[in-house]
């Protein structure tokens, strides 16, 4: 499985594999270095000369790959560093004495810094631990005041100060961070006492079955998954159990009573055997289930790096992996093993074909085999010395391809990342496209090449890749001070919506506005318009809108609801007299006072004339005239009229007997005869002023005919009056009129006379079989002849 298989040592149930001979050249090894190595075969940071506190010799910060290839090196100029650590995304954290945390990228570039709070900076950092949880990377600090401060996720810092530990007079003998019940907690040992600190309380706990000889817990470590806990006591015993302290797994006597340098869990996920590694100077002891321990001598100062499925041991010259022997390997390599794997290996040795045996399995689905081969090939590629990411298969599966690709990208290994994506058939959107985007982001920061060359290179490489976000690349270009390049790159962005924020940031507002309009997203247009409104002076702002009708009409909508005065200014600017007129008309309805209303209407009239809209101007003048008339009459006659339509005004006047005034309006406003007749007819009938109605009917020939007279009278239940008008009705309407007053005979007569089939039918349908028997016979006969005709 491993390329360096020859250097595998079996240590009982464990094996130790040499990963690399370190490429670095460290004079003093790891002595006097502050060391931090990231899990999942991540980078290694060293702070050299850290313990020499002389102002003349600055410490040196160096970053290496897991194989010891240098990535960065620079003198440390900031404050005293208490601890180094890596985030889940391979950024380096340097926690300073004053509680400031500095964040660097893999290449030693400074990214940002943040503070762990006032309390920490006042009482200074005593000890600190950097931990990982499902919520990201966290920092826990023990201050000089013997209090713990914790941030669970450095990307979203929420500082928590944990409760006080009772009886704590000096630094606790050891402590660790746990993640339990979706919360980060601190486990603290003060002598032989053990406490769990969470947000609200400090709870004393007792590990079940801890050997009673111990008077103090001197070291502790939590497994990678936070499930298991190992405690080392001053009597040299290692207690192993679950981290919730409910179960003891085993206890082993190391027979060494000096405090160790480091302790770590070494177990595979799902493994039944607990084992932990304790390291002293020059000595490594592995403790497990049985009383026996495995001892191993170290030639050199080393550091333990806990992993998901083992422990890596890094020394000044070598990099090794210590892990439990997997069941499958044990089967294969056991002496005289006849397990299928062992036989296959023999076969492989004979025929040099690893997949040889597969041919004999008829029902074996090949997918598993194929995907495992692919995985192995990828792993071999990234374990290569030049890449230096020594992942195990278990780690790879846990970390996912996505993350692996991210890491390759972070290390600027773009071609390899693309190869991996293609080889593992990762969907383009998440795979190749993403890598190319990162490549482009990196490319645009290269100062030595010209804008044209870079833009061309980027567009050529990214042309066929789906779902590329050019705006992200452009943002990067802009951030490195290359505005022109950014604009060029934005041209490639298919999502115009994405272009807008950056264009605004770059102060390319006209372009931003047209891109926003192009996107069709009106909210985006509004955003740009509002931005421009604040940025530009009013004149320029209006000018810019004028050239963009879509934006202008949206802004007008906005003003209509929010800024009426601006709306008026906009119309004024455009000499839009028609709209100005409308504006004043609308305003006139919002004002209660009559004088103000009339004044506003006058303004409207002026505008309408300017707009050459005579109809609107005249109509509005009419309106003013009506208002004045209503007002005058209200004062004189105490009748409420203002606000009524002309028609309603006349109706009201007629109903209160002010006929003359109604007539005056009828003439002044050139009301059509027909409508006025209708109006007067209805008003008089309403008042049941039948005498006046009759007089009115005789003034001249009715422009609406006399059927309405009949119908209106009937509507007011006056058949007697209605009948008076039946004779005056035109022949076409005779039948209707007779029917209206209930005169069946008359209706029949009229219908027969007119020989109109449908009228005859209408009358017939109204006849009742019992009373109008004779009439019906006549009608039927007439109908028959009418049809014949």
């Amino acid at each position: 499985m491993w390329p360096t298989k020859d250097k595998t040592e079996l240590l009982g149930p464990l094996r130790k594999i040499e990963l690399y001979e370190m490429g670095w050249n460290l004079k003093d090894g790891l002595r006097e270095c502050l060391v931090a190595a990231a899990p999942y075969g991540g980078p290694i940071a060293l702070l050299k000369g850290h313990y020499r506190r002389s102002p003349s010799a600055r410490p040196q910060l160096e970053i290496y790959s897991s194989s010891g290839l240098p990535l960065a090196s620079f003198p440390w100029k900031s404050g005293v560093v208490k601890q180094l650590g890596w985030t889940v995304s391979d950024d380096l954290l340097c926690v300073q004495e004053d509680g400031t945390v500095l964040v660097y990228d893999l290449w030693g570039g400074f990214k940002r810094h943040f503070s762990m709070g006032n309390e920490v900076s006042q009482s200074q950092v005593l000890e600190t631990k950097i931990f990982h949880s499902p919520y990201g990377t966290g920092v826990a600090i023990l201050t000089g005041a013997l209090r713990f401060t914790l941030a669970t996720n450095i990307d979203d810092i929420k500082l928590r100060r944990l409760p006080e530990v009772p009886g704590l007079q000096e630094a606790p003998s050891c402590w660790a961070v746990l993640t339990q019940d979706r919360q980060s907690k601190v486990l603290v040992a003060n002598g032989s006492q053990l406490f769990i600190l969470d947000n609200t309380a400090c709870t004393p706990v007792t590990p079940p079955g801890l050997s009673p000889q111990a008077s103090s817990i001197v070291h502790m470590c939590v497994s990678f998954s936070y499930k298991y806990l190992a405690l080392l006591t001053d009597s040299g015993h290692v207690w192993m159990g679950t981290s919730n302290l409910k179960e003891k797994l085993s206890e082993v006597d190391t027979k060494i009573k000096t405090p160790p340098k480091q302790m770590a869990w070494c177990r595979r996920p799902k493994s039944q055997q607990p084992s932990a590694v304790v390291m002293w100077d020059g000595l490594l002891i592995v403790v497990g289930e049985c009383k026996e321990t495995i001892q191993y001598h170290l030639d050199d100062d080393s550091v333990l790096v806990p992993e998901l499925d083992g422990v890596r041991i890094i020394s000044g010259t070598h990099h090794e992996l210590l892990q439990e022997v997997p069941g499958a390997c044990e089967e294969i390599f056991k002496i005289a093993s006849m397990a299928p794997g062992a036989l296959l290996l023999e076969a492989h040795k004979e025929y040099e074909a690893a997949s040889f045996g597969k041919c004999f399995l008829s029902n074996f689905p090949p997918e598993q085999f194929v995907s495992m081969c692919r995985d192995l090939r990828v792993l071999n590629a990234v374990r290569d010395y030049t890449v230096g990411i020594p992942l195990t298969h278990t780690q790879f599966k846990q970390m996912t391809v996505q993350v692996l690709i991210d890491r390759l990208v972070y290390r600027k290994l773009y071609p390899l990342a693309i190869e991996v994506c293609r080889y593992l058939k990762t969907p383009e959107y998440q795979g190749v496209s993403r890598v190319l985007k990162h490549w482009a982001c990196y490319k645009v920061q290269q100062k030595e090449e010209s804008d044209e060359v870079i833009a061309k290179a980027v567009s050529v490489k990214l042309a066929d890749a789906a779902g590329i976000s050019y705006s992200e690349i452009a943002t990067k270009a802009y951030e490195s001070g290359r505005t022109e390049l950014a604009i060029k790159l934005l041209e490639f962005e298919p999502r115009s919506g994405e272009q807008v924020p950056l264009l605004l940031k770059m102060k390319k507002s006209p372009l931003a506005l047209s891109k926003a309009i192009e996107s069709g997203d009106t909210d985006l247009v509004y955003t740009v318009v509002m931005y421009l409104k604040n940025e530009l002076n009013r004149g320029d702002f209006f000018m810019m809108l004028r050239n963009q009708p879509v934006a202008l009409s949206l802004y007008k909508q906005f003003c209509k609801h929010q800024e009426q005065d601006t709306l008026k200014d906009l119309f004024n600017q455009d000499d839009d007299h028609e709209e100005l007129g409308n504006f004043y008309v609308k305003a006139s309805y919002k004002d209660q006072r009559l004088e103000a209303r009339v004044a506003l209407l006058q303004s409207a009239v002026d505008e309408y004339y300017k707009a050459k809209n005579d109809f609107s101007a005249k109509t509005t003048e009419d309106e003013m005239r009506l208002l004045r008339f209503q007002r005058k009459l209200e004062e004189e006659k105490d009748e409420q009229l203002v606000g009524f339509s002309l028609q309603d005004t006349m109706t009201t006047l007629l109903s209160v007997g002010l006929h003359k005034h109604a007539e005056q309006l009828y003439k002044d406003f050139r009301v059509p005869d027909k409508r006025f007749w209708w109006l007067k007819l209805k008003a008089l009938a309403e008042k049941e002023d039948w005498e006046e109605l009759e007089k009115f009917g005789k003034t001249k020939k009715s422009p609406i005919g006399y059927l309405p007279f009949v119908e209106v009278c009937i509507k007011h239940h006056n058949k007697y009056e209605a009948k008076k008008y039946v004779s005056k009705v035109t022949p076409e309407q005779k039948v209707k009129a007779h029917l209206a007053v209930g005169d069946m005979e008359g209706a029949a007569e009229a219908a027969i006379e007119r020989r109109n089939e449908s009228e005859i039918s209408t009358v017939l349908s109204r006849c009742s079989a019992t009373t109008d028997h004779l009439l019906m016979e006549r009608l039927n006969r007439a109908k028959a002849t009418a049809v014949k005709k």
Partner: protein, 546 residues
Amino acid sequence: MASHLFCGRVNLNILREAARKDLREFLDKCSGSKAIVWDEYLTGPFGLIAQYSLLKEHEVEKMFTLKGGRIPSAAVKNIVFFVRPRLELMDIIAENVASEDKLHPRDFHILFVPRRSLLCEQRLKEKGVLNSFTNIDEYILDLIPYDGDLLSMESESSFRECYLESDQTSLYHAAKGLMTLQALYGTIPQIFGKGECARHVANMMLRMKREFAGSHTQILPVFDTLLLLDRNVDLLTPLATQLTYEGLIDEIFSITNGYVKLPPEKFAQKKQGEGGKDLPTEPKKLQLNSAEELYAEIRDKNFNAVGAALSKKAKVISAAFEERHNAKTVGEIKQFVSQLPHMQAARSSLANHTSIAELIKDITTSEDFFDSLTVEQEFMTGVDTDKVSTYIEDCVAQKDPLIKILRLVCMQSVCNNGLKQKVLDFYKREILQTYGYKHILTLKNLEKVGLLKPQSTMRNNYPTIRKTLKLWMEDTNEQNPNDISYVYSGYAPLSVRLTQVLARPGWRSIEEVLKMLPGPHFEERQQVPTGLHKKRNKPVILVKSA
């Protein structure tokens, strides 16, 4: 629950389920008990997606209507605002948040429907409340599955926005909605369209397609063709009085978000011994969709054919109930009983629709309805459209509802390709004098959107359009229709004719007419991933009018 969405040729329930899933996910994001504060406008459209029971399952304990001041007290952990992205609503929300009881603060969340808005968030920021919100999210609700064969944006003001206010926001939503639809039902290979707005929507769709390139999963296309039509291509149809059963319910009682409110008197429960009880005063609210078997059968019938259908149904139902006398064996009785709930539902459905039909009949048999319909049909057939109509004049004199007058005048204008200036001015003066001068703005708006216009020098091309597209059919069969013109008893809706011609023989045959209608007509093809080409089947056309 949503059986009406299964009955069409495309299973629209997929869309509804997708929408419900998003809603549940958002509700669960605000963990703990919650109260929803509703932008009242949204309650109707949401009703088509989810009932209260779904909200309840996700710990929604109270519902309030959005209004100023303080939100009523409720012992809940979260307050969730469901709002459209409108500035005036943001001001109300800001007021709500600012006046929250400081001693018992609750978590605030906003769900924007159908889309988040930077403008609104900016407003909340200006008001100093933006940081009070734990979650700000959007709920994309563009095309709502309304019935088995109908998706609706339930956006009543989009015509006004597009044509009067030049605000094309709703077109953006339409394009987005069509993209969602394609994500669920596959890329639509052919897009046809007519009109400026249709062109704009198609352009946005094609652009969005490019933007999302590579991120779409591959689905066999369900829809063959998409037809986009501007409303202003066919202004006539909505002006005409609808004459189908459903159409008349809408004309008379108006259907909103699938519900209709009816006068209660006709629906009083007649129970024995309760004769003298008070009549209900609350309007009767009925949901109308194809899930109801009888309604599905009669909704699209011409109203004149509804009576016969109802009495036929009545016979079937009473015959079914008579069956019980024939049920002799235990097995037969059991079978009868098992059908009983279904039969009872059918009976009450029949009773409801009989009552509705009676209410409608009272109106359709009135002389006024008849006269008005006659005038409409005269306009549509081109009789005297260039003169002042005596009927309209009389209606104004009677001060009939303004909407009726406006509908008729606009119809005359549309059918005459504009009115003579003299005629137009006469109508306008009549309306202003009768209904008030304030309507000068109403009339201007109608002119702006083209519903009302003065005749230009161009000749009236409505007759050509009418003849070419056979918009008027003399011998319409209302009982057993063989042509769509039955829905208006003679008039075949222009947009339907455009769709029919597109399906066969194709628009090329009517180039001339298309040129007379406003806006460009176009055709676009979208690449369907290889291997997903549909075998020749009956085409499914999705028609979308803006």
